[in-house]
Symmetry: C2
Subunit: 350 residues, 2 copies
């Protein structure tokens, strides 16, 4: 456990803004005595929120006043150009300057991705950052899914790099040496999918840094077949949100079916805690947030409609990534690839 940990928070982002970020910040410092939080946002609003919760002038809650907010409808390129004084941008700048070791935001994903890319820059040898999160499986260990929407389309080289970054994140989080990596596809046979995926499969097979296991389909994402599943951002985002949608649907139908008879209603009451816990577990992004990997710094994206509990979980996720030194480990691996030129990805992809 690190003795000192400083994390910058975008207090204004997400559907609830300070209503969820302030209680989360207070809970985080109370729970983790080594944690210092830099609260980026409107000072008056934050002070009012802290005051209401008897936490005004907490020694480990430092306000960084920001005059602007990046809204959900803000075009990423415009946010980058015009929102230099926004809570999102200031939180990223604090990571860049080294004042904070990581940052957390529940704001506009596209804008956060654009800004983080611009402010923090890519680690050497990596083309694109990816959004990664873990999803539960039938086994004890979850599976790490990337990209979840940072890049709409991805070429073979990018998917290959995601495979390496995903392996490092999963390896650290699950404490395993060679995480099993699969490419998400529309069939398990070699002939399935588009050219980018087929080429990425060839590159992954040839790499000593990836324990490649072949294609997996949407239906076997949660069986524990893979520790890491790689896909384009559009596909990953739809897959993750579909999980959320179908989980809601199942809970809805189930509760409705149980309401039909008095006896079932009683059962529904008894089962409520189990159902609630289960629902949370199949909504990991909603709960823990997702991380942007491949950058020279740690950025955790909390879900847009994150509750204060979920925002707290995202802060704790950021803290764990600092402790695991994820960016340093990704950098070391890509340096090794570059120096040894053992299997230079670009030559394999041809």
């Amino acid at each position: 456990m690190l003795t000192h940990l400083t994390i910058a928070l975008d207090m204004m982002g997400g559907d609830y803004g300070p209503r969820s970020s302030i209680p989360a910040a207070i809970a985080a410092v109370n729970k983790h005595p080594n944690l210092m939080l830099l609260l980026c946002g409107n000072e008056a609003v934050i002070n009012e929120g802290l005051s209401k919760l008897d936490s005004l002038n907490h020694p480990r809650l430092i306000i960084k006043h920001c005059t602007e907010v990046v809204t959900n409808s803000c075009e990423p390129a415009l946010a980058l150009r015009n929102k230099k004084a926004s809570s999102m941008r200031v939180a990223l700048d604090l990571v860049k300057s080294g004042e904070a070791q990581a940052c957390v935001s529940a704001g506009n994903t596209g804008a956060l991705f654009f800004m983080a890319h611009y402010v923090l820059k890519m680690l050497p040898g990596i083309k694109r950052p990816a959004l990664i999160s873990s999803v539960p499986t039938e086994k004890k260990q979850p599976v790490y899914l990337l990209d979840l929407g940072a890049n709409v389309h991805c070429d073979a080289q990018t998917l290959f790099e995601f495979g390496i970054m995903g392996s490092i994140v999963a390896g650290q989080a699950l404490d395993i040496a060679k995480p099993k990596v699969c490419l998400l596809n529309i069939g398990s046979e070699d002939i399935k999918g588009h050219e980018g995926i087929k080429q990425a499969a060839v590159m992954m097979k040839a790499s000593p840094h990836i324990n490649y296991q072949g294609y997996c389909e949407g239906s076997d994402m949660f069986t524990g077949k893979a520790d890491v599943i790689v896909c384009e951002g559009f596909v990953g985002n739809v897959a993750l949100k579909t999980c959320e949608g179908i989980a809601k649907l199942i809970m809805y139908k189930f509760t409705k079916a149980l309401k039909k008879h008095a006896f079932y209603r009683l059962i529904a009451f008894v089962l409520r805690p189990i159902i609630k816990k289960l629902y949370k577990r199949v909504n990991p992004d909603q709960y823990n947030g997702a991380s942007l990997v491949g950058l020279r710094g740690i950025v955790v994206k909390s879900h847009g409609n994150a509750s204060s509990k979920a925002f707290l979980a995202a802060i704790e996720e950021a803290a764990r990534e600092v402790e695991r030194r994820i960016p340093e480990k990704i950098q070391a691996t890509f340096e090794q690839i570059a120096s040894k030129s053992e299997h230079p990805p670009s030559s394999i992809s041809k």
Copy 2:
């Protein structure tokens, strides 16, 4: 109800082949006295299966002997070239010649798509066929999702055409005049997604044939917000199979949680029928099959690991489509578009 209905079945396709298709065919003719089935496949195998179930020489089960089978690992282009005597190809040829009004196969999706495209040809004015199926929602009515994997990537024009075809299928099936159509995207704001989707949105908004409602995300696919959801085949396939995967996961976790205490085990026993029914409902593709639309003929794709019950459901789905005259209605709408040139899609897409 039509007085005569003839459907060709690919008896050899899918994971179970005749083991599921033979009982399904027998059940179908016993249930529907107006139905005649043309059983395409190995005569000896089919006769043996019919004999075991006391249905040899059934007057409405006509065997069309085929010497070849398209396997799951068969490359679609090779299947088209080399498997002219396969059960899949013969079933399609029977639709082409008019001997059958529709066909059903549980075989290799890619090969079926390729062959159907080649044998039956597209309806005039349509670029690509799409695979469509209904998915349950929180409302009474399901939502129709297309494309489910017939086309890996789709341009704006293709997505637009899918919107029209989906509207016709959903309109007929749900008996509504103006089905609500959404484009599946990674956010609800106009700025989200790739160029193809943004352009398709503009075209759908401008079309009198589509009641366009904007973007929808994976998380609100099942809320009943849309009657038709349009997406690329890769994305639709992953979304649908993710539903299957997460449904399995939830059932697994739920049953596991209930097994922890004797009391809960009792509850699990009581709830088993509800859980089973629910699981089936969130696996509609597995249960009813999906249809290829846009072709000059009706082709229903049953799930690869369809049980005989599921294969029967796919036969009944094909029968309903014949009765609803889906291809004729799609053709009439596209002819109207072409003749009026009210909003010629190609000019909008520029």
